[in-house]
Amino acid sequence: MPLFAQITNLLAALFLLVAFAMLAQRRIVHLINLYALQGGILALSIVAVGYGTHQESLYLSAALNGLLKVIVIPLILYRLVRRLGLAWNRENLLRVPTLLLVGLVLNIFAFDVALPIAHLAGTINRDTFGIALASVLLSLLMMIVRTTALTQVLGFLSLENGLIFAATSVTYGMPMMVELGIALDVIVGVFILGVFFFHIREEFDSLDLHRFDRHEE
């Protein structure tokens, strides 16, 4: 196995590990750190694939992803939690071991689904498609079990990381125009959320979604 293929596999394994860590992490600041780390791993693995296949356009995509997910979005999120004063908040998260077990089952399921599909891909890193699908499912699980607005958004952002990872593993990423569009949507979304959190806090004095009134159907 060539060296860069080993590197991409190693990075993919780390990517999945971070997805699991995010599922279990209670402190918001650590969660943002993990998100930045996941973004960094994503960018590095795109670089590795770009090096292995001699595709210059992938370096651009890696730079875009790295800039956005390691620097810009984490900085916005840090600023946000500082201003909202929840940096060291601990979220009540029930039954972490159970959660991790459910995550494990999702993983097996993802690999089972991904195997026949990845087989059809002609890319050098097609084995990582299972990992991409698994981390997408883990992010969805995270969004379901989390109860505060900010952690749900982190789940959403990590979901988007998983999708980009999936695109890299089966087709070496989407065309540049589309990647730019996705990046634009993500950054605008994060800005809107920033505004939105303050509105929610003004009204509810909390970002805990359980405080939302139960309205009639």
Binding site: V113, P116, I117, L120, A121, G122, V136, L140, M143, A149, Q152, F156, L159, E160, L163, A166, A167, V170, T171, M174, P175, M177, V178, G181, I182, L184, D185, V188, G189, I192, L193, V195, F196, H199, I200, E202, E203, F204, L209, F212, D213, H215, E216, E217
Partner: protein, 482 residues
């Protein structure tokens, strides 16, 4: 060129109104930019009528019989909504519900929302389609929570997260589709719908099957298909009424348009009618659940939004059945539903504004108090319920006729759904329109004419469909059903 000018108008509008949207002339400027967009689409339509469908901007944009009438519809309803919005938002800002900043945001995002819908309809690139659909969610999130009430914030949050997840699933489907075509076409072109359509019989069925499941669930969230419809009634009920009108009348159509584009590709690749069955199941479930939910609604705008879910379900079911007549009926249904529902939101919005409540049991005797408002609401409800001679009757009649021949098992479900919806809406409408009222007569709002204009168009479509439109529907049915 013409496509660029269509997209330039709302973009310029978003910039100008983002800066000056709180000035007194901004209400008129909003109409002006929408009118300019409508003129540009009219020029494009004239070109399509004269020279037929065309590709533009290095194949990245296209106009064919399927999207041309939706572009026209979008530009038209945006324009009439801008007219309605002028009077409606004037009153709202006089009532002190809007600050200057919120008014700027509102006007700017209204134009941006129109832009994203036009991009989604005109693009040939399924990646750009995804970006535009996400843009449509983002531009309207802050509008749903414009009044900053707890209920509206909850609605906006639900809208953002549920549609965000939905659209993320659609991105996964898009990636899968790109992957399936990558080996056959290669490079940029594997994202172009026209190229995908050319090779659709050779796409790998396993990958396309997975892709379509994700795309249907993802864009289906935005169509408001049950069981991923939870955001829709909240978002439609809590936002300002002009936004409810364009969300219900236009955005749902655009999302369904995306689903149908992918259904064509999946059909070609899978050939086992599985995509069709999936769409029929989702559609039927939406009709039934929405009909029974209608009976429990107490809020006038929530009532209208559940009716939207029902009608979108019906159109999805018709697309699922397939065949030239069913697709013709589904396209007609999208058109008339869009016109009727926005008309109902116009009159319903003024009713809520005049009576100061959205609760149905507190609204009575509209005909006595304000005949124009009462008539607009009554005729609109009759039209949406599919009473002849309105256009909704024609499309529903066609859908049921095809269902009798092709899918007789679905008929009892459709009959129950439409019957329950009829009883629920008709009963509520009667209670609001008729009856005694002790409140003195109020002057009619000046902006009810868009409401009547829409109803007149629906009536015309019910009596005789213009030949050009009917030709487009037929051509689109052939394009989608081949």
């Amino acid at each position: 060129m013409i496509i660029l000018s269509i997209l330039f108008m709302p973009l310029a509008g978003a910039f100008v109104l983002g800066l000056y949207g709180h000035r007194p002339w901004a209400f008129a400027a909003n109409i002006g930019f929408s009118a300019a967009t409508a003129v540009a689409t009219a020029v494009m339509t004239a070109r399509v009528l004269a020279h037929g469908p065309f590709l533009a901007l290095h194949d990245q944009a296209f106009v064919d019989p399927f999207n041309v009438f939706l572009v026209d519809l979008t530009a038209f309803v945006t324009l009439t909504t801008a007219v309605f919005s002028r009077a409606y938002m004037h009153i709202e800002s006089h009532m002190g519900r809007l600050t200057a900043g919120r008014l700027r945001l509102y006007h700017s995002m209204f134009q941006l929302f129109a832009l994203t819908m036009l991009v989604a309809l005109l693009t040939n690139n399924i990646g750009i389609l995804w970006v535009a659909m996400e843009g449509a969610t983002l531009s309207t999130t802050l509008l749903v929570s414009l009044y900053r009430t707890p209920a509206s914030l909850e609605a906006a949050w639900k809208y953002f997260i549920l549609c965000g997840v939905g659209i993320a699933l659609a991105l996964f489907g898009t990636i899968m589709l790109y992957f399936s075509a990558h080996a056959l076409i290669g490079g940029q072109a594997s994202l172009l719908w026209t190229d995908l359509d050319r090779v659709r019989t050779r796409l790998d069925p396993t990958i396309v099957g997975v892709a379509f499941a994700f795309l249907l669930l993802g864009y289906g969230t935005k169509v408001g298909l049950v069981p991923v419809h939870n955001w829709l009634p909240d978002a439609h009920a809590e936002g300002p009424t002009p936004i409810s009108a364009v969300l219900s009348g236009l955005l749902l159509n655009v999302a369904l348009y995306a689903v149908v584009r992918f259904q064509v590709l999946a059909d070609g690749s899978l050939r086992d009618r599985w995509p069709n069955q999936l769409m029929m199941a989702f559609g039927l479930l939406s009709v039934l659940v929405a009909a029974f939910s209608l009976a429990r609604q107490r809020d006038i705008k929530r009532l209208l939004s559940y009716s939207s879910i029902e009608h979108m379900g019906l159109a999805t079911f018709a697309f699922g059945m397939g065949g030239p007549i069913a697709i013709f009926a589904a396209l007609l249904h999208m058109t008339v539903h869009s016109l009727t529902k926005s008309s109902l939101f116009f009159s319903g919005g003024h009713i809520a504004q005049k009576t100061g409540t959205q609760r149905i049991d507190q609204i009575q005797g509209l005909l006595g108090r304000n005949p124009a408002m009462g008539w607009a609401f009554m005729l609109g409800t009759l039209a949406i319920l599919g009473t002849p001679p309105f256009g909704v009757f024609t499309s529903e009649f066609l859908i049921l006729t095809v269902a009798i021949h092709k899918e007789p098992w679905a008929l009892p479900f459709l009959a129950v759904g439409l019957g329950v919806a009829f009883a629920a809406l008709f009963g509520r409408m009667q209670a609001m329109v008729f009856g005694e009222t002790r409140v003195p007569k109020a002057p009619a709002p000046t902006s009810l004419w868009p409401s009547f204009l829409h109803l007149a168009l629906v009536l015309t479509l019910g009596l005789a469909i213009p030949p050009a439109l009917s030709r487009w529907y037929t051509a689109a049915a052939r394009l989608l059903g081949h």
